[in-house]
Each structure stands twice: as structure tokens, then as C-alpha cells.
Symmetry: D3
Subunit: 115 residues, 6 copies
């Protein structure tokens, strides 16, 4: 399994366990997560860019990876991703840079996985 598969695999496995606990509040938060990013007044492409940049300024590597995967599915270009990266780094400061490194690495993996 490559890094992307490992990431998705762990994510799915643990989501299943979390939802199996049958806690209503958690279940609804997971549901909302699906609804909030679908097309509406804003396109899901714009929403994924929002998800990506918010994850970067909050410095959550796994959230960044998840939204990078979604951005990749949405067909976002390198230039679009780099501009999103630049705004997040400017707003969040140089403390974001280690996450920018890992985000850049994961974005490359996504592109390679699709050759």
C-alpha cells in the first residue's frame, strides 16, 4: 500500500469504529461534514479550497491531506493549489511552513498516483 492508500485506509477503518459507537452527536457531525461541502451557492471546488486552507491555518496534517485528495478529484491545477497554499501561509504565518512541506509532498503523491 502506498502512502495515500494507507491514509485512506486508516481513515475509513477508524471512521467505521467511531460511527459504530452509535453516539448521536458524533454521527450528525459526520453527516454534516458530507453535506457542507456539496455544491450550493458556492461550488464544491470553492468549498474544498476553503476546507484546505482552513485546515492549513489550523495546522492539521490529516485534514490537509483529506482536502488535498478532494481538491485533486475536483481537478484543481498546481497554480490554484499553490495560491491557496500561499494565502494560508501568509494568514497563518511561518508556523504553517512544516505543514506546507508535507502538503506539497502529498500533492505530488496524488499527481503521481494518477499517471
Amino acid at each position: 500500500m502506498n502512502e495515500i492508500e494507507k491514509f485512506n485506509d486508516y481513515r475509513s477503518k477508524m471512521n467505521e469504529k467511531i460511527l459504530a459507537s452509535d453516539n448521536k452527536v458524533i454521527k450528525r457531525i459526520f453527516n454534516l461534514d458530507t453535506n457542507a461541502f456539496s455544491d450550493g451557492a458556492l461550488t464544491s471546488k470553492t468549498k474544498e479550497l476553503i476546507g484546505l486552507t482552513c485546515s492549513m491555518v489550523l495546522r492539521c496534517d490529516d485534514c490537509v491531506k483529506y482536502h488535498l485528495g478532494k481538491c485533486f478529484e475536483q481537478g484543481l491545477s498546481d497554480d490554484e493549489i499553490n495560491e491557496a497554499f500561499s494565502i494560508a501561509t501568509l494568514i497563518g504565518g511561518t508556523i504553517v511552513i512544516p505543514h506546507l512541506r508535507r502538503a506539497t509532498e502529498f500533492w505530488e503523491l496524488l499527481k503521481e498516483s494518477n499517471v
Copy 2:
């Protein structure tokens, strides 16, 4: 002076004082802030939505107000703003809600100011 004018006035006055200190690093960060949000691979409208939501999840009222002003200039609709608000609240959690209240109030002021 209404709330919006007071906000802009204080912002301008203090920015001037900060830049008068002639600190190179700070001056360049202020310059970057202007460049980063102009049209590029992403539209400045999308970038302002990113600025707005990142400011919400980082819970900075003044930053939220600034980007709401820019979003208003970009002609964003209520529905677009509300969807941006909803994603920021979902990602950032209920701790964002007090900022959502003040953001909602400021958005209404912006709309009224323009009647």
C-alpha cells in the same frame, strides 16, 4: 461615524503608524497581504472567501470584518456568505459561534450602509 467607518478609520490610522516605524519585515508582510489576494489562478472573490473562513476558524473578529468588507465589495450574496460561515463553523466548532454572531451583525451593517 458608524461602526464600519470607525473600524476602517482605526485600521488605517494604526497601519500608518506601524508602517512609519520603517521595519522592513513588517512592511513586506503588509505588501504581501495586498498581492496575495489579487486575481491570479484563483479569482480574488475565491481568495476573499478563503480569507474570511480562515479568519473565522482562527477566531479573529477584526480579520473577519476586514474580509467581510472585501467580500461585500466583490458582490458576494447572502447565500454565499452563509455557506462560507457554515463551513467555518463546522470546521472550527461551536467555539466559532460568538464570532459568527459578530460577523452576521457586521454583514448586516455592510448591507444597510449601501442602501
Copy 3:
């Protein structure tokens, strides 16, 4: 109107406006907020203490005030509140202290309002 009434008044007024926007995601988050703190495996008293301390370490004054109000309704004693304050200050660090000051002030207001 005293400080407590002003706080509750603004909160209610803006919640109404936010819910009037009819954004599904936001509405559900507001609903969850009510459900999550009701009695369950944990008592609502314990849950309010969790809400209070999480709000302190995340340094949100309005959230602290809200949960202090709820803690007061639950009949929590000064000693219980002070122990909760002390843990939040220890975990969150001295950066929490300005919020501890305002929390202490609001707790006193709540007690006076009830004489």
C-alpha cells in the same frame, strides 16, 4: 439592563438572525449544541464543566460566560468552579489568566444577580 442581561440579549438576538438565514448546516450545529449537553451517560453538570473548561483553554470569553451561566443554573459551588478554573489555567497556561479574570468577574455577577 445589567451585564448578564446584555450578554443574553445580544446572544438571543443574533442567534435568531443566524437561524433566520435558514442555512441547514448551521441550524443543525445549533441543534446539536442543545442535545450534546443534556443528561446522558454523563450528567449535564459534568458536561457543563467540560464546556466551561474547553471554552477557557480555547480562550473564548463569550463561550466561558455562556457555560458559567449554565453552571450557575446547575448549582455548582464556588469551590467546584475554582477547581475547574485551576485545571483550565494549568492546561492552557498563563495565557488563560486574562480570561480567568473576566470569568471570575462574571461568576460574581451571576451570584449577585441571584441574591
Copy 4:
């Protein structure tokens, strides 16, 4: 060594080194940490739930693991832990979810280790 032992082992080893530096401020913070969570006006069970949820909203995996270990010693049930998880995720937002996954995994390890 399993995951729990590795975690505890590294923690003990490094705590020893930190305390060996003989820095008075750090030593006292470590002492406070022990005192703050013992029984008082609030039970240590309630305090561990506070420690757990504050660690989750501040998104510190090691702190979450430490308090999960303490919650396990206190005999907290799955339902109690899940309600604590749900409040932390609601307050802290979906950015907490990756930590919720790792917390869920560690909680399972704790239960298995005790069979």
C-alpha cells in the same frame, strides 16, 4: 512492547531528563499537574474528563492518550468516553476528528490490554 508501553516508557524517560535539568519553574509545573487532578470539590474522575476534553479541543494526541489512560484507571465506561468525545468534537469542530480517530484507537488498546 506494545503501543501503550512505548508511550508510557518514552513519557517516563523524558520526564526524568526534563526534571534532571533542575529548572525550578518546570519542576513546579510538573508538581502542580499531579495536585490539580486529585480528588477535591470535583472528583478526580470529573477532572480526568476535563483533562481529556481540553486535550482534544487543543488537539494534543499525547495529552489525549495520557488522560485516556487515567480515565481507564478511573473505570470510565465506553458511553461516558464517547459523550466526552462528542462534546469535544462539537466544541472544537471537525478539525478534531483526526485526533478522535487516534483517541478511539488508543481507547481500544487500553481495553484490550486489560482483558
Copy 5:
């Protein structure tokens, strides 16, 4: 009373109330705060610069004001303060700028108060 006196006054009044609660953990944290910033291997001047910049990146206005007052007592120059401001803004990102504005204003008040 001017802004600086109001700030110091509220701070003293509430610290007194907090310490009156006689909570051991809180009392010790307050004590540590005094010890940690006195001369040692690092000068108290360097320590106040650390306190100032940590307060800025954590975006706590009151903490910034407190450490600015201490930096003023230590005789720090405008250039030294501006360099500290610039590093904090670079590390913490543009989200720090609203706090930089208020810090700049308070620093000017401190200088005027001393004419």
C-alpha cells in the same frame, strides 16, 4: 484614569479576587509567573521579549499589554520592540496584525505616559 491605569487597575483588582479564592493550584501558577521572568541564565529583558512575542503569536491583547509595560520598565527601545513585533507577525501570520495595531497603540501610550 487613562487607558494604562484602567488596565492595571482591573488587572490588580481581579488578581486579588482570584487569589482570595484560595485555590492552591492557581496561587502557585501566579507565583511561578513572577519567578519565571526574573534574571537568571537569561536576563529579565530577554525574558520579557519572549513573554511579549509569545503573547502576540497566541493573540492575547491583555498579555501583550502586560509584557509591553514590563518591556517599557526594562527600557527597551522602539527598534527593539519593532523587531520583536516583526518576528511575532512573521511567525504568527497576518492574523496577528490586529493585535499588532493595538500593541502599537499601547506602546505609544506607555511612552506618552512617561514624558
Copy 6:
């Protein structure tokens, strides 16, 4: 390769890739990072202590490692580093302790690497 070399290697490799994307905003932020920490009104030694402590309270392990490396080059003593650690832990709270453990470990590696 030891831990320090691995850390520096990954850092360099990814910085190169990030800068190869030729995004003007990101390039300038990277440039600023070099300028901001050079000698000025404050010595670069003081600036590295600021960089170290800000990284600790913001809880970024990679940033802590980077600034520890710089502090080591500046010839900072154990006592100076421990006082910086103690202030960061006091300001940022016990949530900083897991990062303090890893910082202590990396500081030891730096000292061993230089024997």
C-alpha cells in the same frame, strides 16, 4: 543518517520543491524568514530564543527543532535553553509538555552530534 540529518534533509528537499513552484508570495515569506532573524537592534541569539519559544507555545515540533538547531549554532547553554523552555511551558500550559519532551530529546541529540 541520524535524526538531525534526516530532519535537515527533508526540510531542504521540500523547501526546494516549494520554491520551485515559483509562487511569489511564498518565495517572499521564505526570504523574510531569513532576514527577520539576523542581527539588528536585537541580537540573532535573542531572536532565536524568541523563535524557539513562539514555536513551543504554538506547539510546532518541526519549528522547535529548527530553532533549537539555530540556538545550538549560537552557542546557547543548557541553562539558557531550560529557562526558555520553562517560560514557554508556563505561558502555553501543560499542553506544551509533550513538545517539551521532544525538544529536550532533540537538544540532547544536537549536543551529542557535536562531541
